[in-house]
């Protein structure tokens, strides 16, 4: 996973609530067996017309935001399915940070596993950043994870909260599995206790 430290870039405004995972990456693109290459189909049904042409009204098709690395969105971003293809598509497009008043739980978790920082801010702060984002390429935003600060184009700053463990993993690009495997003895111990106390939970294979 790529580290996340300080990100400076263009923020794209997406002022919709309940942006769901089907909007972020429709199911026809879930047939892939890879993690990469989904960026071209990010927000596919909003971004392209039925015949495959770019929809000129969609924000990421406008010159100012084609290179956006930050997304500012409405409440409950990422609701719906558990598909990690949603953060993969965002990442593949180049989005490394999403700012919204709230996120759906599974999507929120999935972002951290892919080096994407989702930031929850009060609605009025999101509204301010949404205004900044509307200014496009002339107004870059800086997200500083170490100091937990967002710097707007006019120099104002907004502090944000982030879970300490997740911050640590993002800053260092750490792989969860490697960390967990260091606790192998505890897992072994748990399994021994479980086999004694709840032996019915020890699984057996289905008949062939």
């Amino acid at each position: 996973m790529e580290k996340f430290t300080v990100l400076t870039g263009v923020a794209a405004p997406l002022p919709l609530i309940n942006v769901d995972t089907d909007m972020i990456i429709p199911k026809q693109f879930l047939k892939t067996i890879k993690r990469t290459g989904l960026g071209k189909n990010l927000f596919d049904e909003m971004r392209y017309t039925a015949d495959g042409a770019e929809n000129p009204d969609f924000v990421l098709n406008k010159a100012a935001w084609r290179g956006a690395t930050i997304l500012v969105a409405g409440a409950n971003f990422g609701c719906g399915s558990s598909r990690e293809h949603a953060p993969w598509a965002l990442l593949d497009f180049g989005i490394r940070c999403i700012i919204a008043p709230s996120f759906a739980d599974i999507f929120f978790n999935n972002c951290f596993k892919n080096g994407i920082l989702p930031i929850v801010l009060p609605q009025e702060e999101v509204d301010k950043l949404m205004d900044d984002a509307e200014r496009g390429a002339n107004a870059t935003v800086t997200v500083d994870l170490e100091n937990q600060i967002i710097r707007g184009p006019d120099g104002g700053t907004i502090a944000f909260e982030v879970d300490a463990f997740r911050k640590h993993c993002l800053l260092n690009g750490l792989d969860d599995i490697g960390l967990t495997l260091q606790k192998q003895e505890k897992i072994d111990g748990f399994e021994q206790t479980r086999a004694q106390q709840m032996p019915w939970l020890v699984a057996s294979r289905p008949a062939a």
């Binding site: 909007m23 558990s82 699984a203």
Partner: protein
């Protein structure tokens, strides 16, 4: 006696492997289901790191999202779908994971297969790379959907890194009126709390109306917990649960069964335990529900009308309502029962179980699908299909003009050939009415199985009680 605690907390505490200073927990996962869409990258990750699956026997693989629901002898025509299923087969073989093949009678939607096989057990932690894993909470299991990175984590370590959720109680008091089902209960709950109302919570469902539900009905309620934002729903296990599980292939047997049941009987929220939030509904006021928009919270009783965005005070919500109505091609104020449908879909992990098919067949029996409607019935698993055929339900559906299909996820998410054309309107027993969910430009109205069958007969959204 310790401090009174919730069912969620009991299961959580009994699965704690380690706790970090910041409250992050490592929890043990008892059961892991795997399907073809969200697992290939996880197995690839294991391969690249040279890691094995820690407990293949606690893992169950089955293809469901991409499988065709028409004649399977012809194979899968879409090359990407075929590759995805072949990849699952190969991964299951290479890593020693049990796999139910497409021609196995036990194949079906993961969330229907798990309970049927007794893979799902009370008090267990169960995960799957699919948000509707919440279904298994109907058994008093802590079950939730995870992303592919977490799938890889569970495969490698049989654990997950998590923070504890908050506790919400949703109590549905009293009894349902005739013609009202589990689907209506859960849609009414989502209408009440909103699609993000459960975010950060595990919801325990309780109350007389929940207790009175069959296991099938309880699964329908827990299945849609995620549409209310909560990753997991829970219903305390009782005799209904044990009766359903007894004798299932993977359920404990003999003395082990007896020991398990006596433990399972302790799996309930203690008297006096405190919830972070409590919501109470009166079952007798719930009517058959139907969605009008593109979020499951956009729901009204079938006796209601398409709401008017002008009456919504919040500008963001008003804008979302306007966008929904435009997408759905609906005018504010239209009575729901005046909305014609082109397609009907009966199936999915929400409503693809035997009881659902019986409810739909009871409406279809002796009637005909309207000439303007194409209606399909997709059983949730091979075993559901077999049972339905033994009861003659397939004949009832066919005679009425419904298509009788092979099991799978089908038109719930339209990854196979079962999808809506742009502008087509569907009464669907599935769980999501998002834009494009059932096909680009497709318009979905979520309903229960009897309501879907009624819509197929009349050619429009219909109050099943009036049929």
């Amino acid at each position: 006696m310790g401090k009174p605690t919730t069912l969620f907390n009991k299961i959580w505490q009994s699965h704690l492997v380690a706790t970090q200073d910041d409250g992050t927990c490592l929890i043990y996962i008892d059961r892991h289901m795997v399907h073809e869409v969200t697992s290939p990258q996880a197995f690839e990750g294991l391969r690249m790191a040279g890691r094995a699956v820690r407990h293949p026997e606690a893992t169950l693989a089955v293809a469901d999202h991409n499988v065709p629901t028409t004649d399977r002898k012809a194979g899968i025509s879409n090359p990407e779908s075929r590759l995805q299923i072949e990849t699952l087969e190969a991964n299951a073989r290479d890593f020693g994971v049990p796999y139910l093949a497409m021609d196995d009678i036990r194949q079906g939607i993961v969330h229907i297969v798990g309970p049927e096989q007794g893979f799902t057990l009370p008090g267990a932690t169960i995960v799957c790379g699919d948000s509707h894993t919440s279904t298994h909470g109907a058994f008093g299991a802590l079950a939730f959907g995870i992303g592919t990175s977490e799938v890889e984590h569970v495969l490698a370590t049989q654990t997950l890194v998590q923070k504890p959720a908050k506790d919400m109680l949703v109590r549905v008091d009293g009894q349902l009126r005739p013609g009202v089902t589990a689907k209506d209960i859960v849609l009414a709950i989502i209408g009440e709390i909103g699609t993000a109302g459960g975010t950060g919570y595990v919801i325990e469902f309780a109350g007389e109306a929940i207790r009175s539900l069959s296991m099938e009905g309880r699964m329908t309620v827990c299945n849609m917990t995620i549409e209310g934002g909560a990753r997991a729903g829970l219903i305390a296990p009782d005799d209904v649960t044990f009766e359903y599980l007894k004798g299932r292939p993977l359920a404990p047997k003999g003395a082990l069964w007896e020991a398990a049941v006596s433990w399972w009987r302790t799996l309930k929220t203690d008297e006096g335990a405190v919830f972070d939030r409590t919501v109470v509904l009166d079952a007798s006021t719930i009517e058959p529900q139907v969605t009008w928009g593109t979020s499951p919270e956009n729901v009204v009783p079938i006796t209601g009308r398409v709401p008017d965005p002008a009456a919504e005070a919040d500008p963001a919500r008003r804008a979302a309502m306007q966008r929904s109505l435009e997408y759905m091609g609906l005018e504010a104020g239209t009575p729901m029962t005046e909305i014609p449908v082109d397609r009907v879909f009966i199936g999915s992990c929400t409503n693809g179980r035997i009881e659902d098919l019986r409810a739909a067949a009871a409406i279809a029996k002796g009637r005909k699908v309207a000439a303007s409607v194409n209606a399909i019935v997709v059983p949730g698993s091979g075993l559901v299909k077999e049972q339905a055929e033994a009861e003659g339900l397939d004949e009832i559906f066919r005679e009425a003009g419904f298509e009788w299909r092979e099991p799978g996820c089908s038109m719930c998410l339209a990854m196979n050939d079962d999808k809506l054309a742009p502008g087509e309107r569907c009464a669907s027993t599935s769980n999501r009415n998002f834009e494009g969910r059932q096909g680009r430009g497709g318009r979905t109205h979520l309903v229960g199985p009897a309501m879907a069958a009624a819509a197929a007969i009349t050619g429009k959204l219909t109050d099943v009680r009036a049929l």
